[in-house]
Symmetry: C2
Subunit: 326 residues, 2 copies
């Protein structure tokens, strides 16, 4: 079995690993996250920095995220404000730009990583989530990192944290759609795929787009849901799969689905109900911001099976390495 598939299937376990990392952190630190936080990372870690920033904002703080390279070379263009903490994310903790980015702002530094590493040693605080992975692409570690840090945010802001056992079992429920996902991929030889999500599900759409590129070398796109009608939808035709990530669809989601079906594209809705879609994967009720963890295994499996269907080895993506250095 591919390491990638094994690691996606480890998501429920990853949630428990994350919970333990969060609790260990509390044991060793008398520390609360501040209100104004800048998050940074590269690639998948950047797409992880976005929902963390959004959750921060939604919970009453002010979260801002930017890729490491933009913080390093172009930060004068971004409304960074007056952050009280910089959170840098890197699975290995050895990504050159993430380590360099720690110096970009003159504020306390926090590392979110899977290892004692260059990143954690250079930071004032480190949340180490040992969701280790053999494969090049991030899968269950992304989910575990998100959950561990979300718990810390909730705790810091005086909110109730989630029941990790419950969340873990819900991810297991979602993983039950694996066979259905494989059938979608085998039954419809789509030529490109468009992921749509709004609010905190937009960065999940971005991560889905990246997974497709990394594993399946495949034409994939991601947009804030209703933005797609403004020009981008021209590329959708009978060779297109549109994946609509939406917690609770409303009337306009159905209209959007019809619009794509009118262009002969097929729509997969991942959410609470199908909204007229060709394919549907139900996501159990959990509510934002934690619900993010229920979408991730679905989009990872989709990329995995597309790669396999194309005869590629998802464990060994072309031109990529596990740790990106200069």
């Amino acid at each position: 079995m591919h390491a990638t598939l094994r690691e996606i299937r480890k998501t429920p376990e990853g949630i428990l690993t994350a919970q333990k990392a969060f609790e260990d952190f509390l044991t060793h630190h008398d520390f609360r996250l501040p209100r104004e936080i800048v998050y940074t990372g590269c690639g998948s870690s950047h797409f992880l920095s976005q929902p963390l920033a959004m959750a921060t904002t939604r919970l009453g703080g002010r979260g801002f995220s930017a890729p490491c390279s933009e913080l390093l070379y172009s930060r004068e263009w971004y409304p960074i404000g007056n952050p009280e903490l910089l959170v840098a994310i890197s699975r290995s903790g050895e990504t050159t730009e993430a380590i360099k980015a720690l110096d970009a702002l003159n504020v306390p530094r926090f590392a979110l990583t899977a290892y004692e590493s260059g990143l954690s040693r250079k930071s004032d605080y480190a949340l180490i989530v040992p969701a280790h992975e053999e494969s090049v692409v991030m899968t269950h570690s992304f989910t575990a990192f998100y959950f561990a840090f979300l718990q810390l945010l909730l705790h810091s802001y005086g909110r109730e944290t989630y029941d990790a056992e419950l969340v873990s079992s819900l991810t297991k429920e979602v993983l039950g759609s694996e066979e259905y996902i494989r059938e979608i991929v085998n039954g419809f030889d789509f030529r490109n795929v468009i992921f749509l999500g709004s609010g905190i599900l937009y960065p999940v759409a971005l991560e889905a787009m990246l997974k497709m590129k990394e594993m399946a070398l495949f034409w994939s796109e991601a947009y804030p849901t209703f933005e797609v009608r403004h020009g981008f939808k021209s590329i959708a035709d009978d060779g297109t799969l549109v994946v609509l990530l939406v917690d609770e669809p409303f009337e306009w989601h159905e209209k959007l689905t019809e619009e794509f079906q009118g262009q002969k594209a097929r729509v997969l809705t991942v959410g609470r109900h199908d909204a007229g879609a060709d394919y549907f994967i139900e996501v159990p009720e959990l509510g934002p911001p934690a619900n993010v963890v229920l979408y991730l295994p679905v989009i990872q499996l989709l990329a995995y099976y597309k790669a396999v269907e194309r005869g590629l080895n998802p464990d060994r993506p072309r031109f990529l390495s596990k740790v990106v250095k200069w």
Copy 2:
């Protein structure tokens, strides 16, 4: 001749139209833009809202941008802050979501549009830039809107405005690369294209990506320059054109170019010098934030000629209409 080509070639004239609109606005209003501004738009207008927000931040204010639909349905996730003005952008002034978005924040409203319209009538202030277009896709009007509003920003913040005659003549110089752009497109039958830009050139890369999709129905991507190394570059091979938008390349741009060439992709640099690229289009010195207007005609011509080469009519993009309504 296609309307689209005629309109791209009208860029120098558009700059003068923009200058006149800016001056007319000053004649009729005793108004200065505030420091904290939220910008919104859909599609190309959203990609125009981004460099305007970035210019605002760079000039000492705080600019934030979001697509209209995200402001309407998911704004609780975004660090909007306490803006003093909402600027909504729509070429026609009749885009449903742009008009609705004016109600999203309870602050004074400013319309940036080409017509007296639903948008301008619902706003407290309107900068009307009559860079009218027949074609579905925005080309020289994007450039003209940007320049007119930039002048208003500079004026409002007590900075020197640009000499419109000079800027106009520089856009004419850039348009001189039209034949070279056609040769690139005809000489290299690329299968996908990746646009890269950092800071204020990142939204230009996004707009380039959208132009390619709208006109040429083509696989196009856009990333903050160095982000591309983190997973996305897996898709680049001997069928890929990488377009590097960069004012003043430095050492790492050369390394990035080599990395892509190592994957057999070809690189086109648009900037001050070639940085080892396969193709090079020189952009005259103007400096940020105005330099944006010199890159736009280049990326528009590239999309135009790709569409023509693919036998498509750039004036009539598939599935798209000039004004997007619900």
